[in-house]
């Protein structure tokens, strides 16, 4: 390898050597995906194969809890993609999560059919109670799973598209963007609280019976849902990783660090932000859709501004700009929440606030920043090699040089 000037003639004899490391995962990603696979394998065994009398048996409560953490992990992943990599601090991501959840909830409500308290074959219980005469038009099609699935993806995506288009086109950035995302989720919460919106008002949807014909009260269904959630989380992770490792990902980092310089190079900054925001909204929507059948309820409080803020705290605690850090943060903070709200209910909010302050002061790179050689996204020494390969004449030249 020579570091000096290359004679122009030499280039005509060079051949392609592929950049090393392309398409492979860094160490953090490998550990993360391995841990997810372990959860997806261990949970079914501990619940189904280990007898209930054994101390190693995983209860139905335990499955639901782990499933919930994984869904929150996906939401955190969505937040980290736009905040950690593009510097867009969304304080309204729970809105996309909730919309995905509501779309799933509408399917589950239609699945109940005549088994509801009022026994109406078409109308869900809350509609009978509120004296609806017929099904509102926007409920049509939700009895088909494929249609509902499409809506789980499309509705959050559409909201992100429209909202992002207006916000980014008007060059709304920084704290102003954060504030209007808070307003967005708050407005949606107020709207969904209204009974005549047709989404069950403050009670939301609950009392689900089954999903695709599988009983939602059986452990087995919950185990399968958890495994699907783990797979969805892994797939979202791989997709996000592919984005941030591509050239588009480097443009996104460039936008985060020097937006106008990136624009000056000719990149359409607004369109990059919009694509990323829509993708992030879809990931959050899928997380919400998987959350609802496992938890068994969706109501307007999911839109509460505090939920979106908590998601940002998970990412900050875990370590932003790493993707896996966001998931780790979501799981650890929620585990702490589960424990503290059980043991010392009145302490939780103070603990959350203190945690955020401490992490900001002492661990600016989050918990995963403590791990060796993590933090900086890096795909290995892929550009250490020059685009050249020795030809026989090069080797001959080198031999001559050695003699000298």
């Amino acid at each position: 390898m020579n570091g000096g000037k290359q004679e122009p003639g030499l280039w005509s004899r060079t051949t392609l050597v592929a950049r090393k490391g392309d398409g492979r995962f860094d160490r953090g990603s490998k550990w993360f995906l391995a841990a997810l696979a372990l959860v997806a394998i261990a949970v079914p065994i501990l619940n189904q194969a280990v007898p209930a009398s054994s101390p190693f048996h995983l209860s139905a409560f335990g499955i639901t809890l782990i499933g919930k953490y994984l869904c929150y992990g996906m939401l955190a992943l969505a937040v980290d993609l736009i905040w950690g990599y593009c510097g867009i601090l969304s304080l309204g991501h729970a809105a996309f999560f909730s919309l995905g959840g509501y779309a799933m909830g509408m399917y589950l409500m239609r699945q109940i059919g005549p088994r509801g308290v009022y026994g109406d074959p078409i109308l869900p219980d809350f509609m009978v109670f509120l004296n609806y005469k017929s099904l509102p038009w926007f409920w049509y099609g939700f009895n088909h799973f494929v249609f509902a699935l499409l809506m789980m993806l499309l509705v959050p995506a559409l909201l992100a598209l429209v909202f992002g288009w207006f916000a980014f086109r008007s060059r709304v950035t920084g704290v102003y963007f954060s504030i209007i995302t808070q307003a967005l989720t708050y407005a949606l919460m107020l709207a969904f609280f209204r009974n005549n919106m047709g989404f069950g008002g403050n009670n939301g949807f609950t009392d689900f019976k089954d999903i695709l014909g599988f009983d939602l009260h059986s452990d087995r269904t919950h185990v399968v849902l958890l495994v699907i959630t783990a797979i969805a989380l892994a797939a979202s992770y791989v997709a996000c990783r592919a984005i941030v490792e591509s050239r588009a990902g480097r443009v996104v980092l460039a936008i985060r660090d020097a937006e106008s310089r990136t624009r000056f190079l000719g990149y359409p900054v607004e369109s990059f932000k919009l694509w990323l925001f829509v993708f992030s909204g879809i990931v959050a929507g899928i997380a919400g859709a998987l959350y609802v059948p496992q938890i068994g309820i969706i109501n307007p409080s999911e839109f509460a501004p505090i939920n979106s803020i908590e998601a940002v705290i998970w990412v900050a605690v875990g370590g932003r700009g790493t993707l896996y850090g966001a998931v780790v943060g979501a799981i650890l903070v929620n585990y702490a929440k589960t424990y503290l709200t059980g043991a010392f209910p009145e302490v939780w909010l103070y603990a959350l606030g203190a945690l955020f302050v401490l992490v900001t002061l002492l661990l600016p790179r989050g918990i995963v920043g403590l791990l060796p050689a993590s933090g900086r996204r890096r795909s290995g020494g892929k550009i250490n090699e020059r685009m050249e390969m020795q030809t026989p004449s090069d080797v001959a030249i080198e031999k001559v040089n050695v003699k000298e």
Binding site: G3, W11, T15, I243, S246, R247, L265, W275
Partner: protein, 248 residues
């Protein structure tokens, strides 16, 4: 206009801001492959001239042609960049969290939309071009370093390298050595001299020693017009220049 094979023609350019004439019938030509230095006291119109060439400011009158076929006054800023005019601003801005290599990669011509960059791979030819530019700007050893750990001078060179990635025919360089150490200044003059020939280079600079070391031809601006032209010795001995600028 008649074809005279110059790289840049500026003729009778006038720009006024609220009655103040930043450029006053400025006429100036740049030859292909030439290194031209422009000096002049503050307010002489150096930056305004750069702004007119890059499309940031529109003149009240006069013409600006790039080569013999491109009327710069009819093009937008991005179109002028695409036509082959690169400008380096005074303050270097490189992407701090990207490596030197990645900075140059993003400056590659072509591929600008999200979906295209998502699938973009560096071709062998592009990789060679990046290696070539790394050699030219002397940052081959630092290709894996993040932009933020570079010294001030290295950032300037990287930014010049980012301009070179687009292979501009004309490079406009605004005060390249401000804030540099003597050693960095020396390296910068070597770099700029190596670029002349293949590219036309126009440098605006205050540092006289630096201008003397690189310029074959110097143009002195004063109150929006050219008052002297020629080699450094001729310009420095011109009585008008001594009066308005060198102030002896």
């Amino acid at each position: 206009m008649t074809v005279r094979n110059k790289r840049l023609y500026l003729e009778d350019l006038t720009v006024s801001f609220d009655g103040f004439k930043a450029l006053n019938k400025l006429t100036l030509y740049v030859e292909p492959g030439e290194m031209l230095c422009i000096i002049g006291p503050n307010g002489a119109g150096k930056t305004t001239m750069m702004d007119v060439i890059t499309g940031k400011t529109r003149p009240d009158s006069g013409t600006a042609w790039f080569g013999d076929g491109i009327n710069l006054l009819q093009l937008s800023e991005p179109e002028i960049v695409a036509a082959g005019i690169g400008r380096k601003f005074q303050k270097p801005t490189v992407f701090e969290q990207l490596t030197v290599f990645e900075n140059l990669e993003l400056a590659l011509a072509g591929c600008r939309s999200f979906l295209k960059t998502l699938r973009a791979r560096i071709t062998a030819a592009q990789h060679r071009r990046i290696d070539e530019v790394l050699d030219i700007i002397g940052l081959w050893e630092h290709r894996e370093s993040l932009g933020r750990i570079l010294a001030h001078g290295q950032k300037q060179w990287l930014e010049i390298g980012m301009l070179l990635m687009q292979n501009p025919e004309l490079l406009l360089v605004d005060e390249p050595v401000a804030g540099m150490t003597p050693h960095e200044i020396e390296r910068t003059s070597e770099l700029l001299l190596s670029l002349a020939g293949e590219h036309s280079v126009v440098v605006v600079e205050h540092d006289m020693a630096f201008v003397r070391s690189i310029a074959k031809r110097v143009t002195v601006l004063h109150e929006g017009s050219v008052i002297a032209e020629g080699d450094m010795d001729k310009v420095q001995n011109d009585p008008k220049v001594i009066e308005v600028y060198l102030g002896v």
